[in-house]
C-alpha cells in the first residue's frame, strides 16, 4: 500500500496537496515534496507542462484545478472533481490565501468551517459580537445525486464580515460540503449585497491528526488590496487555530452521544451523519 490509509472513501476522493504555484521552478529532479496520508509525495510538471505526481515507485492520478493540485490516492475516483463555477465567473476576483498548518483532524477542521456558533467568541468583533450570539434556524439538505451537503438560509450578524466591510451587516450564508475534506461557504458580498462571495476550504491531510488548511477566495471586491484580503483571512484562521488544536480527542467522534450537539449544530450533525453513512473513518475516532 502506497498510503497509510485503509479508508476507501478518502483514497477515492480528490485530495489537495497545495496551490499549483508550488510547482514553479520544480522538475523531476527537484520536485515539490509534501506529505499526504503519512507518505511523501513528489509533484512536478513534465516538459509538456503536464503535472506528474509520484509516491515512492507509484505514479499517482493528479490534476490541476482551480489553481490547486489534486491527487486521487487510489487512482479510482468515485467522481470527477467537484464543480466550482464561481472560480471562473466574470466579475469575481480570485485570491489564493495559501495554507496554514493545524495539528488537528481534517474532519474537525471542516466541521469548524461549517459552524456559526463560535463566531462571536472566537472571531469577536469580526464575524460576530457578544451578546448577539443566537444562531437562527437554517436548513440542511443532502444532495444525493452530487453526493454533497448544503446548509441554506443561514444568517448571522457580523460587525466586520470582510476586509471591505465598513459597518456591521446581517450576513446571509450558505455552506456546501463537496468531499469530507473540501467545502465552500458563500456569504453576502459587502460591496455587492445582492451577490455572494465564495470561500473554498481545501484540507490536505498530512496524517490523521495534522493538516494544512488552504483557503481560496472568489470575491466581489475590486478595491481591497490583495495583502489586506490575505491579512483578514489569516487573522480569522489564526483565531481558529488554537481552538482547533485544543480539541480533545484530536480525531472526530462519529458515535452519536459522544459529544452533545444543540440546534445550531444541525450542519455539524448532518456532516457527521454523512461521514458515517459514506463510511469515512480517516481522522475519526474508531
Amino acid at each position: 500500500m502506497t498510503f497509510q490509509c485503509d479508508d476507501r472513501t478518502v483514497l477515492d476522493d480528490w485530495l489537495t496537496v497545495g496551490p499549483s504555484t508550488r510547482l514553479t521552478g520544480r522538475s523531476s529532479t527537484n520536485p515539490y515534496r509534501t506529505k499526504l496520508l503519512s507518505s511523501d509525495v513528489d509533484v512536478w510538471r513534465d516538459g509538456q507542462g503536464k503535472v506528474v505526481a509520484r509516491c515512492g515507485d507509484s505514479t499517482l492520478m493528479v490534476q490541476d484545478a482551480y489553481g490547486y493540485l489534486w491527487i486521487c490516492p487510489s487512482g479510482k475516483p468515485t467522481k470527477t472533481i467537484f464543480s466550482f463555477p464561481e472560480y471562473a465567473e466574470p466579475g469575481r476576483r480570485i485570491v489564493d490565501c495559501d495554507g496554514i498548518g493545524v495539528a488537528v483532524s481534517g474532519l474537525r477542521m471542516v466541521e469548524n468551517f461549517l459552524d456559526m456558533g463560535h463566531f462571536p467568541y472566537v472571531h469577536a468583533h469580526y464575524l460576530g459580537e457578544v451578546p448577539q450570539t443566537e444562531v437562527a434556524a437554517y436548513e440542511v439538505n443532502v444532495d444525493e445525486s452530487a453526493g454533497e451537503i448544503w446548509a441554506t438560509n443561514c444568517r448571522f450578524y457580523q460587525p466586520k464580515t470582510s476586509k471591505s466591510a465598513t459597518t456591521g451587516l446581517d450576513v446571509q450564508y450558505r455552506y456546501r460540503v463537496m468531499q469530507p475534506m473540501s467545502a465552500i461557504l458563500y456569504k453576502t458580498a459587502f460591496p455587492r449585497p445582492g451577490e455572494m462571495d465564495a470561500i473554498g476550504l481545501f484540507v490536505q491531510p498530512h496524517d490523521e491528526e495534522s493538516i494544512t488548511a488552504y483557503c481560496l477566495l472568489a470575491y466581489y471586491d475590486d478595491t481591497t488590496t490583495e495583502t489586506d484580503l490575505l491579512s483578514f483571512q489569516h487573522t480569522i484562521f489564526g483565531q481558529d487555530k488554537p481552538i482547533l488544536e485544543n480539541q480533545r480527542p484530536k480525531r472526530m467522534p462519529l458515535q452519536p452521544g459522544s459529544e452533545v450537539p444543540t440546534r445550531c449544530d444541525a450542519m455539524s450533525v448532518a456532516y457527521r451523519r454523512w461521514l458515517k453513512a459514506r463510511g469515512t473513518s480517516y481522522g475519526a475516532v474508531r
Binding site: I100, G101, A103, A124, D228, L230, F237, Q239
Partner: protein, 213 residues
C-alpha cells in the same frame, strides 16, 4: 507613525501592544509576509529593512527595525510616566537581559511555530523545540523565585517592555508543538499579562474580555 506589520507575527504584536497601551494612533501597513514573502522583496530590503524582517516602525523621519529596539524607543519617547522602561540603571540592566532572551525565544519557539504553521520546513523542528524548552526553563525558574517573593513581573513591580518582549511567543508556543504544562510560574505570568486592563490579543492569543477591542 507607521508600522510594517503582519497579524500573525508575535514580534509585530509586541509593538501593537505597546502602541495600544500608550494610546498612540498609527497606520498599520500590512505586509504580505505569507505567502507573498514581501519582507524578502528587493524593494523591502532596499527601502525598509536590509535584514528582511518585520516589524519596522517609521516615526518622525526615523526608520527603526527590531521589535525590542522599537519597544525601547516607544517607551523612552512616549511613555511620560516612565513605567514601561523605567529610568533606573539596575532595572534597565535587568530589562536588557530579558530583551536579549526574547531574541532567543524568537530563534526557538517562534521558529518552531513557523515550521508547523507556515511550512518553514528548512528549520530543524526538534532543535527549535529543545531550544525553546531550555529558555522556558530559565524563565520559569526566574519567575518562580519572583512569585515566591510576591512579585509578578520579570523585572520590578509592574510590567515593563521586558514582559512584552517575552510574552507572545511563549503564549503561542503550543502552535509550534511546545507544551508549557511543565512551567507553572510561566503560566501564571501569562495569566497576569493577559489580565492587564489595556490588554489586546492577536490571532492565536484571545483577550479574556470579549467585549473589548
Amino acid at each position: 507613525m507607521r508600522l510594517y506589520d503582519y497579524e500573525l507575527s508575535g514580534n509585530c504584536y509586541k509593538v501593537r501592544f505597546l502602541l495600544h497601551a500608550l494610546g498612540i494612533a498609527y497606520e498599520r501597513h500590512s505586509i504580505n509576509f505569507f505567502p507573498g514573502r514581501e519582507h524578502k522583496s528587493d524593494q523591502f530590503l532596499s527601502e525598509v529593512n536590509p535584514l528582511g524582517q518585520i516589524p519596522v516602525l517609521e516615526d518622525d523621519g526615523l526608520l527603526l527595525r527590531d521589535a525590542q529596539a522599537i519597544l525601547v524607543y516607544l517607551a523612552s519617547r512616549y511613555d511620560k510616566a516612565k513605567a514601561w522602561y523605567p529610568d533606573d540603571a539596575c532595572l534597565r540592566g535587568e530589562i536588557q537581559v530579558w530583551l536579549a532572551t526574547a531574541d532567543e525565544i524568537t530563534r526557538t519557539a517562534s521558529a518552531a511555530r513557523l515550521h508547523d504553521a507556515l511550512g518553514y520546513t528548512q528549520f530543524d523542528i526538534e532543535a527549535c523545540r529543545a531550544g525553546a524548552h531550555e529558555v522556558f526553563r530559565v524563565i520559569d525558574d526566574h519567575l518562580s523565585v519572583r512569585q515566591a517573593e510576591g512579585a509578578q513581573w520579570l523585572v520590578g513591580d509592574r510590567p515593563t517592555v521586558a514582559d512584552i518582549a517575552c510574552f507572545p511567543y511563549i503564549a503561542l508556543a503550543g502552535e509550534g508543538g511546545i507544551s508549557i504544562d511543565g512551567y507553572p510560574a510561566l503560566r501564571q505570568w501569562l495569566w497576569h499579562f493577559r489580565s492587564q486592563p489595556r490588554f489586546i490579543g492577536m490571532a492565536g492569543i484571545m483577550a479574556l474580555d470579549l467585549t473589548h477591542h
